[in-house]
């Protein structure tokens, strides 16, 4: 084992949206940080290039069986996902879980969908609203100033909508005109009292930690990044019980290292951070570490429709294209359905519906596909999943990764609240399509397996009570004052909004608190 001979102020494990945000805040305050990431750094010039699908060995199908749990993987991007053989995890076959991971400097922020949405007090005060679960230890108002800053960093485009369930932000104003089909859908929704708005998305050619967060931090001279550093466990001072660094293994050589730091920050992604804590045997006096795992459930292509005027293979100019977002509209003022909480919908027009929707073959199929080319209008449901104690991760002592580090066992499944929500979303989309004059060619309400939305949250949740939570309101361990967890594992509930913007805002708030406590020598 090699001891790195420099002590750092802060050790940050993970370089994605959360770790990158913490590094950006701390380094600018003159705090010396060392960042570890389990993967290599991307060289965008060297590591990618244009290819035709017909030049790929598997014609775009990808090597069969390479990624049994990553449906996002294809033959173009297969090399960016974490190798499932080197990074195994287990689950009960009757409750499959798709754990989708990226092990590169920048993490999933290199490839995220960029949806940048604020949570509201419907989430932060969820228990007050409907009696289920726990409130967060913070209110929306506590996080709003950090959302403002995160939106500026990620250059979020959007349109103010004045909706309490989806607070407006500091947007690059999106005043682009909607296509005719989107206007028709919006009007149909409005008649039903269902709000719609423009998508809220980070902009720019790349919207990642590696171009928006890390460069400024590196420029201060206060951040060093070690790539290919697979963290095994957090180390502690036997006298004080405080964290004092981490053990890690070089990904390629298997060389063991230890690094020391005054403060340790975990931002390794929701389940990886919890795995490190579980393998370290730390921060679990509450017994809830690993529990209350949730995500957002997705129903992909919940409804697929065709805009009749776009049939014929050459839609009139301005009819198709674009999309939008339906924020949660259920159970806001009254309990109105056989489920609590709600769901959001993403929608867009202009694609071609898949051949599977048309029960024909031969020349008839080819004519059908030509007829609906560019005429599709599709929806995806993103629904809130209730945090439940029984949905959890634990260490599987029988399975280890390629570096000998014990793997996770994931136990998660959806229940009736999510199922009812999914069914409702299908009915709503279908009704709105018919009202907009669209032809529905496919509908279903079956969700993808838990995890597939890549919005895994919880397992290390915040709270005011150390007996029922792992972290306090500043992402600080109740048990170990110089240990922080800043990724999605800290979430208490998730709503139906994509979580990255909230993760970044929380990390920023935690970093400022951390810096102040370091200044006053409280940690």
């Amino acid at each position: 084992m090699t001891n790195m001979n420099t002590d750092y102020d802060v050790l940050i494990i993970g370089s994605g949206a959360s770790g990158g945000t913490v590094a950006s805040v701390l380094a600018k305050k003159g705090i010396r940080c060392l960042m570890l990431d389990a993967g290599p750094a991307v060289d965008f010039q060297r590591d990618r290039g244009f290819k035709r699908v017909c030049d790929l060995p598997y014609r775009g199908f990808g090597k069969p069986g390479r990624f049994p749990n990553v449906t996002q993987a294809n033959e173009f991007n297969g090399n960016v996902w974490a190798d499932e053989k080197k990074n195994p995890y287990t689950y009960d076959p009757s409750d499959p879980y798709n754990w989708v991971r990226v092990r590169l400097v920048g993490g999933k922020s290199l490839f995220w969908g960029r949806a940048s949405l604020r949570l509201s007090n419907y989430e932060f005060r969820c228990k007050d609203h409907d009696g289920y679960g726990e409130n967060w230890p913070i209110r929306y108002e506590d996080l709003a100033p950090y959302y403002d800053r995160a939106e500026r960093i990620f250059r979020v485009s959007g349109q103010k909508a004045g909706l309490p369930q989806l607070p407006d932000g500091v947007f690059i104003e999106d005043d682009s005109p909607d296509s005719e089909s989107v206007r028709r859908f919006n009007a149909a929704a409005r008649r039903r009292g269902i709000p719609t708005t423009k998508e809220r998305r980070a902009t720019g050619e790349l919207a990642s930690s590696v171009n928006l967060l890390l460069p400024d931090a590196l420029a201060t001279g206060n951040l060093q990044i070690v790539s290919d550093a697979v963290v095994r466990e957090i180390s502690t001072d036997p006298n004080t019980g405080l964290a004092n660094g981490a053990y890690f293994i070089d990904r390629r050589s298997r060389h063991d290292y230890h690094v020391k730091a005054r403060v340790v920050v975990l931002g390794a992604s929701c389940l990886e951070s919890t795995r490190i804590l579980l393998n370290s045997g730390l921060a679990n006096s509450s017994g809830v570490l690993g529990h209350y795992l949730f995500d957002e459930f997705y129903v992909k292509d919940v409804v697929v429709a065709v805009v009749p005027e776009a049939r014929g293979g050459n839609p009139p100019r301005g009819l198709m294209g674009g999309g939008g977002y339906v924020p949660r509209f259920r159970n806001l003022k009254t309990r109105e359905k056989n489920f609590i909480r709600g769901y959001a919908l993403g929608f867009g027009g202009g694609g071609t519906p898949d051949a599977r929707y048309f029960p024909v073959y031969g020349e008839a199929l080819e004519k059908q596909l030509a007829d609906v080319e560019g005429a599709g209008f599709t929806f995806t449901t993103m629904g809130e999943v209730l945090p439940r104690y029984e949905n959890h991760v634990r260490i599987d002592k029988n399975v280890s990764d390629a570096w000998g580090i014990p793997a996770l066992h994931v136990q998660a499944k959806y229940t009736d609240n999510e199922f009812e929500m999914a069914k409702d979303s299908m009915h709503v989309c279908e009704e709105l399509c018919r009202e907009a004059g669209f032809e529905v060619v496919g509908k279903h309400w079956q969700m993808v397996p838990p995890g597939e939305s890549i919005h895994e949250l919880g397992t290390c949740r915040m709270g005011n009570d150390p007996k029922t939570s792992v972290l306090n309101a500043y992402n600080q361990s109740h048990d170990i004052k110089n240990l922080f967890v800043v990724d999605g594992s800290a979430f208490v509930s998730g709503g139906s909004q994509n979580p990255t913007l909230t993760i970044s805002a929380l990390a920023m708030r935690a970093a400022e608190y951390m810096a102040e406590k370091m200044r006053t020598r409280e940690i």
Partner: protein, 197 residues
Amino acid sequence: MKRRTAIRSILTLPAAMALPVRMPAQASAPAPAVSNETPDTPTVGADTHAATVVRTFNPDQFAALGKLSSILIPSLPDTPGAPDAKAAEFLDFLIGQSPTDRATLYKEGLDRLNQEARKRTGKPFAELTAEQAAPILSPLRDPWTYEPPKDPFARFLLAAKEDILKAIQNSREYIRVVSRRRRSAGGMGIYWYPIND
């Protein structure tokens, strides 16, 4: 040494060291010009210049797959179909690389095509006309449902329809012809190489 590493290391050497030195054969003959540029050697795809060695399916199964492919996605005057894209040959390769359950679905599905064809006409599926095959392919005329059908034969037909279409649309021949009409049919994408593996 990996190819990319090798190229990089060559590029860092002085040209005189990196390239083989050519000695004149005879003092009186002029030395051929030596290019100092790194060559870009053109290559062609194997699928357009060689035949697939069928290894996964037996001859009866492969013949049935060829017929099924050409019925599901036939060649049209202006659009390549399964025979042009060598869809059956490609699927023999792909299914041979696939997990066992996928391979079994295909093999048993192709056997069933032949059994049904012989039962109805006394001929193997490969010798049927599209009209004769239509009753056997009736599961493909059932409305779409998210959950795949319980009958493995119906599941096979739906899987084959999807795979054959994709194998065609992503083929060199299809892209060559259709991209002339539609730029979006070029099949171009950003490919990620193995990253510092």
